[in-house]
Symmetry: C3
Amino acid sequence: ANAAPTFYFGDGKKLTIFQMVQVWNVYTLKNDPFNKDIDARNDIYIRRGRIGVKGKLRKDISFKVWFAYDNLGKNEASASTGTANANSAHENREFYIWDALWTWHLDPEWANISIGYFRPQVGRESITTAFKVISFQKALTNFDVRKHIVGRGPGRETGINIGGLALNKQLNYNFGIFDTNSTKIVKDIGGKSDKVGDGKKWSPLFAVRVAWSFRDPEHKKYKMGYTQTYYGKRNGVTVGLNYTYQGETDVFKSNSLRGVDLLANFGPVDFVAEYDWLYRKLQTGESGTDTVWSVKAGYNIKLANGQIVRPSVMASKEDIDK
Amino acid sequence: ANAAPTFYFGDGKKLTIFQMVQVWNVYTLKNDPFNKDIDARNDIYIRRGRIGVKGKLRKDISFKVWFAYDNLGKNEASASTGTANANSAHENREFYIWDALWTWHLDPEWANISIGYFRPQVGRESITTAFKVISFQKALTNFDVRKHIVGRGPGRETGINIGGLALNKQLNYNFGIFDTNSTKIVKDIGGKSDKVGDGKKWSPLFAVRVAWSFRDPEHKKYKMGYTQTYYGKRNGVTVGLNYTYQGETDVFKSNSLRGVDLLANFGPVDFVAEYDWLYRKLQTGESGTDTVWSVKAGYNIKLANGQIVRPSVMASKEDIDK
Amino acid sequence: ANAAPTFYFGDGKKLTIFQMVQVWNVYTLKNDPFNKDIDARNDIYIRRGRIGVKGKLRKDISFKVWFAYDNLGKNEASASTGTANANSAHENREFYIWDALWTWHLDPEWANISIGYFRPQVGRESITTAFKVISFQKALTNFDVRKHIVGRGPGRETGINIGGLALNKQLNYNFGIFDTNSTKIVKDIGGKSDKVGDGKKWSPLFAVRVAWSFRDPEHKKYKMGYTQTYYGKRNGVTVGLNYTYQGETDVFKSNSLRGVDLLANFGPVDFVAEYDWLYRKLQTGESGTDTVWSVKAGYNIKLANGQIVRPSVMASKEDIDK
């Protein structure tokens, strides 16, 4: 469900208050392999709860600040992934920034500069919101990519990105520099908080994405959010190439991602695929490349009352390098 | 104080931004029995601070998402109950979800289905907001009932509820199923967080309430929030019967509540009473029934300038079974 | 950047949703004296992130409730001051109340009564938001004053204040009583949370400020927020005298501040200065007075396109009494 009323104030100013939610009901069988010896159980919880504001500060500056209260009410022994919402003092007490970014549309077509806390623009599954993927849950290409490049589940990092559209909106490019500080990427060597990274070595994370569309373009105007379905209204294909590189930190000598993804929307048919190579060379000298892929297909059936039902299938697999 | 501006967007969509606050000033005497040997002290603090949004996503779906920052600025040595607002790192840093629920008005009169994180609809004192009770603070019938059925002070749990009005709005019914996960109800047996329950045994919590009104109905349309005063405008009586049942968990063999409550509003007179039997059979085989009751009366005096002053009295007592 | 759309609802009711943000980019050299032996590093982070609502509940009651998500994405090993945003469970998870106050404009000119969680009105640098000072960062007169009187960085405390304007708006006065509960001011002696103060001794904090303006007044109507620049539109000088006193707590026998501050705005020139004496007599009998001062000057240059560039300089020093 989502509500997105928008207010207009003249001079290009506008403000939208928006919210999105996924309430899940997960039934866990008695003989769940990860939870032997426990009762079967039913778990109703707020898998994703989001609320925030977005809009324009003036004609050429847009912003988005939203918050999450995910996994609220989750039973810890339920078989679904994800950590139950709790801080160290109480259950159901976490409310935190999801994205906070400001974009200056220097040229609204080909030069949009964003700053703040947001997703490095690589990997279609990671940069598409869970509310716009065609599968029930996101694929492994979301979780593995995020863990590999920024080390945290929400996939956000602070940085700067420049992006735009070109060649009659057929080409979409993004180039970003990020300053990683997850302990999983840069290590914690004993500062004030052991939750925040402060390793001795430092290197920036570079992230590049180039996507070409054939026939209908993917975006009519530049944006950093994507969708996997146009509810039957797009006829086009988009191929994306993704690349990240980060040099030495206390965790690795170097770390990079190479990926290719594809989105095809032809009338009622939606098809999405992604393949990523996750390379890491450790401080010990060892190196390896994990791979992860996902394929999804959906078919939009328009009902007599205007609503759409879309059955879809997904396959996704990770292959860990020894 | 409260502010509740509402915006309308056509197609039945609307959005209200609302806030409520109670700033308390508590003076604690030097010879307070619970805090011997300390200075008398005055404590100004935000007892209840709430802010959120509610509205309609479309004509037949309403929602409410609000947040709390209770007990902010509370002195720990002040005699009033409640834990000072703090997380493990800092004081005054807790901001958390209070309710998050979405209601589908399948039939706005007799079939309203709600899902999310909200109060099981039992016990008039628990399901009436602190901003609409006629006493200064809520009665023990609020705190004891919540602790007994869901194990947490805010009294919220994730679940599904169906409710409605019938017989010319004289009958109000609710039936809900909830998935408890407080450690006080289901125990923590060592998952990721010791703040969230994950016991081996699992049983759902069922909650039922049926209320009959005589003369003026309590509600003109179905809602899950209640009031104890109509500021002199209602002439009617409502009697409610409440029942919950939960089977075996790691904490108990079974747990249930039976309760009866009464609201009478006759012109300037407001009268509220509740009696609850809290039954629990422990895993050790022992069982017992605590009881708790409350009675309140208020009288609305309309001043010349249209404002209302309402003196009120309350008595409330719990009786713990040995 | 800030966005402040305002909605009007009749009867004097209004509501503004506002946000403010400072994204900092801090480059830390390899031989930083505080972080020897680490790589040079670049740190992009949200130094100050704020979002909230303010407005009027009715013609004579205004309110402001806003929240902070400061230091999000900060690298712990970066040379800039401030603690990285994290709770004990996760990085980037703190979202907390900044101010929550309600003002009753009994007489909008000379008698405005505020209650809630807000800054004691002393010390121009402390009571001016970081978004309205003429320097890049606030001066030591902000940090030292706050630490001395309420013991916490945000400088907020719960209390009551009465203030107003008089003598044709040339005089601005404020008098407040606050109930301190920071462990740095009242100590923690072992209650539920070691983050919240609960010392045996108790004394209120009194805070008084009187400011005289010459030529253009500082404020056209009473407010508790200040600015250090009028972008070339004011011709006036304001001199403020500040005083606080708190009696015995578990930390000190008595604690007080005396301060004088000056704001001069003459066309394009902005000049601000403050000098504070921070007196404390410890429980051990020792006493001392630290001093802190700051001086800033800026010059507003109006560009052809209407924008303003303002170079400014600042000097600030603290002198700790032995």
